[in-house]
């Protein structure tokens, strides 16, 4: 295991962060300008539209969107307050629940896409030459490759995407 990263790895890393931040802020700005909710809401809405019956367990949303448990809980709160999703009882697990997209939620998902899509085209597509997008997709795929199931589990229990600190929750350090 090489402890010192190569020069071009460092450069790739630096630009990865920068490019994601730049594009994301441009896209978020477009949404905000159109009076639409933030991207995280879209992610949730899209996952729900794709799920059978338009519903998922919070724990499943956390896993798919790399959300920390408490962030998911509160995001669902806000979206429920806005009428885009609704909490449902979960018959087969008394601890759990379902989050179901509402018809307003489906409308909102489509409405956001009408701004989001063009924004992606503008902030990403328009800056790449033919063929670049595919190459970039493939290269980035190597970086998002699933961690081991165990690691994903552990990550979710704590802070999800950020998972600061490696101490496990209870005594099993």
């Amino acid at each position: 295991m090489n402890r010192e990263p190569a020069e071009d790895v460092v450069q790739a890393w630096a630009r990865l962060v920068r490019a994601a931040q730049t594009a994301q802020s441009g896209i978020e700005a477009a949404l905000k300008q159109a009076g639409l909710p933030p991207l995280a809401w879209y992610d949730v809405l899209l996952e729900l539209t794709r799920a059978p019956d338009g519903m998922l367990r919070p724990v499943e949303l956390e896993r798919r969107l790399l959300l920390a448990q408490y962030n998911a809980s509160r995001l669902i709160d806000r979206m429920a307050r806005a009428g885009l999703v609704a909490r449902r009882a979960c018959p087969e697990d008394g601890r759990g629940q379902f989050v179901a997209i509402t018809s307003d939620g489906r409308k909102m998902q489509r409405r956001i896409w009408r701004v989001y899509g063009p924004a992606i085209a503008e902030h990403v597509g328009a800056r790449l030459d033919p063929g670049d997008a595919g190459t970039l997709r493939d290269l980035l795929g190597k970086l998002v490759d699933d961690r081991t199931a165990g690691a994903a589990q552990r990550a979710r229990r704590r802070g999800g995407p950020e998972r600061k600190g490696m101490t496990a929750r209870k005594k099993n350090v």
Copy 2:
């Protein structure tokens, strides 16, 4: 101007966000585990070590690190409280100031790198095949290409990287 993004552009975009988030959270976790401050502090420290006399104007830090003005102001606060930087008067502009790195700040920069470097190697370098890093760096370069000077200006005045809402600051909408 194409309003609908191509399929592989959307995929590249999705993975861009995901890859940046995944790598970043892994790296931040390594820092936190080592009891070190967040990445944003390192960015500031590094910029300062590279600047002549180890000092920069806050406004310059904002520009280089894509920080919103108020975020920069408060980040400097925290780092100053931790003794890593110090505010200095700015002779040639009474409104402004300089942020100067302290010797503790220089030590901290090196100390962070001893964790940060290996973390980059692990979370980025180790996942790429030979040649990938260079290709990725070049492709991402197309996405970070400087916006026009005017756009950068406007972005900085408001929220910097996030620049939500297109309403300008005063009456000049």
